[in-house]
Point group: C2
């Protein structure tokens, strides 16, 4: 264990308050955004029902492969038809299980002021998760390592618009897989005070993360189980398959009352039908099957459905993101997930290799689709490139500007119609041909009336040119470097920190987790 980060953290500011960040940028305060818009609904009621019925037919007539004997045994006991690993379930069972799931739940990390609401109109943002590689303007593309992992954790903590320290922003391949989760979670839990996530990649890893989360929060086992403290996200092996470790991890979390997000990766034309409604139906069938299992073994456990339905490039078969088809799939999934009364996860994604125009129109498309589908949890909301193969700090900073704009877009002030907003008196006062810069109505509101960007440059061309003609990614790069320089880790109770270090040391001595699966 590298002790160096600890020393740096010892200089952290006192108090448990949510800092608005250092002086690097003037960012919006921490909040849980609430999406006031009616969702965009491409499907009519019949369309919703047709996708639902198709998902039910898939579950009943084709069935799902559960590559986990324990899961199969549970489902057999629940009355599902089992044939080897194939499990068929009928609508009645699925809907009964769904009725047990909460439509909304909280997750409370070690800093209770960072508690999140998942569901309803709430929308939270997760850092980029799971790219094997990093890219930045200075170093180009390279494999993920632990130092880069920590850089992204600092960005995750720094930005108030990022609510969750999700999966590893990059895979730190310089740490042995057997102990990687220990080092990574240690950094996650000490460099951030936000909700953390566990990969469902084997019993030991999952249990270690739950235990570390419990320790970091200074919780008894009873307190830990009492409400959601962290979560996992599992993917099916589309089409129609759930693998052993994902199901194992999901069941472990469900039993301890911790949330499970089930996110099939159904790429239309590859592992799902080439037609979007079919890809959505397949995705839902896979998600519902796992959720039915979890509600059977732990009735009422918090769950959410994730959508990762996109399409391939027609020429190469490569995955594409932020496409029109992606947007519609996300909206349709949103409609069905509301029909099932569950929280929804989607993503902020693109296929671009560098943080340029394409990256931002694809990411904007996917983020607006998240808004339109009333997504509750936006994965990869900051930092994602190359279809998830690259995490980029410049993209992280740029995405946070878009996320902040979405947060501001949600604020009622932007569409309020009180007398003060309608400003009739100011309009009469200024009259024809005047200007509003000086009037009292403006003076009273000027500093907070509009969104203030931190990476966008709104100067005119000549001023921008005099400032060095700096394009967006380079501006983002400078901000990212400065954030790292001035970063201060959040405070952590010394006893909890000590216990966490002891736990990591002990588990490392024991050899960590097996790596042979």
């Amino acid at each position: 264990m590298n002790e160096e980060p600890r020393k740096r953290r010892a200089g952290g500011r006192a108090g448990n308050k949510l800092r608005a960040g250092t002086a690097v940028i003037d960012q919006m305060p921490w909040r849980i955004p609430v999406n006031p818009d009616a969702p965009v609904e491409p499907l009519d009621a019949e369309g919703v029902l047709r996708i639902h019925k198709t998902a039910m037919r898939i579950l009943k007539e084709i069935g799902i492969e559960f590559l986990n004997p324990e899961a199969v045994e549970h489902l057999r006991r629940a009355g599902c038809r089992v044939d080897g690993t194939n499990v068929r379930m009928d609508e009645e069972f699925v809907m009964e299980m769904l009725s047990k799931a909460p439509s909304e739940f909280t997750i409370t990390p070690r800093n209770p002021e960072r508690e999140l609401v998942i569901g309803g109109k709430h929308m939270v943002f997760v850092n980029v998760s799971s790219p094997p590689n990093a890219w930045d303007m200075e170093r180009g593309k390279r494999s993920g390592d632990f130092e880069t992992f920590k850089e992204f954790m600092k960005l995750t903590q720094y930005f108030n618009c990022i609510h969750i320290a999700g999966g590893y922003p990059v895979e730190p391949i310089d740490i042995h897989p057997s102990v990687r989760h220990l080092d990574c979670l240690y950094e996650k839990l000490t460099l951030t005070d936000k909700v953390v996530h566990a990969y469902s990649l084997g019993a030991e890893r999952v249990e270690d993360v739950m235990e570390m989360t419990r320790i970091a929060g200074g919780l008894s086992e009873e307190e830990f189980r009492a409400k959601p403290r962290m979560y996992t996200n599992i993917n099916s092996v589309s089409p129609l398959k759930h693998d052993f470790p994902m199901l194992d991890g999901a069941m472990r979390l469900a039993r301890r009352g911790q949330p499970v997000v089930v996110t099939p990766f159904t790429l239309a034309g590859a592992m799902a039908p080439v037609t979007m409604a079919g890809a959505v139906a397949l995705s839902l069938a896979e998600a519902l099957a796992a959720i039915a299992l979890l509600q059977y073994i732990a009735p009422g456990c918090p769950v959410a459905i994730g959508t990762f339905t996109s399409n391939v490039d027609m020429k190469s078969g490569a995955p594409a993101f932020g496409t029109p088809e992606y947007m519609r799939a996300t909206q349709m999934t949103g409609q069905l997930v509301r029909f099932y009364k569950l929280p929804l996860r989607s993503s902020g994604v693109c296929a671009a290799n560098v943080p340029d125009g394409q990256a931002m129109w694809e990411t904007s498309n996917s983020l607006w689709a998240a808004v339109q589908s009333r997504t509750n949890m936006v994965y990869h909301a900051a930092g994602w490139l190359e279809g998830g193969l690259i995490a980029s700090p410049e993209k992280f900073v740029m995405d946070c500007e878009v996320l902040q704009m979405i947060q501001r877009y949600f604020e009622e002030a932007t569409f309020a119609t009180t007398d003060e907003d309608l400003a009739f008196d100011a309009i009469r006062e200024v009259g024809a041909g005047g200007h509003y810069f000086g009037c009292q109505h403006t003076q009273d509101r000027y500093t907070t009336a509009f969104y203030a960007p931190f990476v966008s440059d709104w100067r005119n061309y000549e001023a921008w040119q005099q400032g060095g003609s700096v394009w967006t990614p380079e501006r983002a790069h400078r901000i990212y470097r400065q954030i790292l320089e001035e970063f201060e880790a959040p405070e952590m109770n010394g006893d909890h920190a000590e216990e966490l270090r002891r736990f990591v040391a002990r588990r490392k001595q024991e050899g960590g987790a097996p790596t042979d699966f």
Copy 2:
């Protein structure tokens, strides 16, 4: 008159058919997009009414300055209260005048296959209009000139997703203002066969453009008047003022049955209240005043309301675009304009100086706001930078990718739920763990199932790197250069072309238009 373009045009392909473009890129065919989405409506019914009532109070209690004696005289006769240039009108009069305006109309350019529908759920895209400057990757920023003007006209014609050759993409300052409109319209009418626009900048200019449009279409005066053939867009001088030439041009068009779009430029915090609802109310009052005038002098003439309500930068007072406040203002205006049963114009805009990430997130925000507000006519949909001070060909190409994605997003195929779309049989056929690349359901649809981009690069990083690591603006630059090289102008009837040239020559000899206003 430079005769060189004519020779080139003589090589144009025969036939009146709509070409899908040359082989430079594989673009979507010409179409009038129809927006199937329910609009995003931040206001409830009471909010709509509150903005409406505020607009009506502005018109009744404060009044609008009409700096055009003829307009004032019409409105006096209509029963409005006139005090010098100040005209006050009451709700009853305004609503009666509005009731005469069509909610939807067509515009038919010289090529009748390019006829447009303005209103309802239709959405058409206009090229960037009126920047004084151009910027491209090779030449940087420079003043607009005639050659650059022609370049943009070729792009406007080339892209099927651009429906209207609107205002000048750049101001060609190397052409004397007295004859500039003659040269520009000649190029517009011969390099494109799409709907054109007239600036309302003096009687002679407006009449010349109408006359040239009539000649280019080979129309009698009666045929020209019979339906919309071109249009103008007028801006108020916010707050609360309409100037002489804009009103003069608008009235000239209305009398000949040609559409007028009224677009106040209400920048919240500068020439409009700092609160968005107030800025929208002011904008609507200004637009409705002009529309009431036009409906009084030419009942039933086609009109539309444009929104250009955005906010300033709180630090510098510079205009900002594509902001959260801009989006909400556009959506709110959409609600009110539907309340008035008129077509809506908005824009594709940004404050960025170069076609980078910021440019594309700001433009995406404004274009999605156009979709969400059910905008019928999207100005500056391709090519706009620096708050409208720069037209960029790279940005033009990049924007067209986004516009095409919006067109594809509108297609029912992306959210259809027929049995074929639900693909249950294919899901059964492929089963668990298989893939969909090879199945018949995919094979039958593969080539048309998904949006195919022309400037986005969906290759992985290594393939992209081997291809030269080309970022989006550079790819767009290459496409733009190639389009210009291979451009072929649309065919034009030889007699009409000859008459057009004679008209231009004669009007130039007469001195063109006065330049002293």
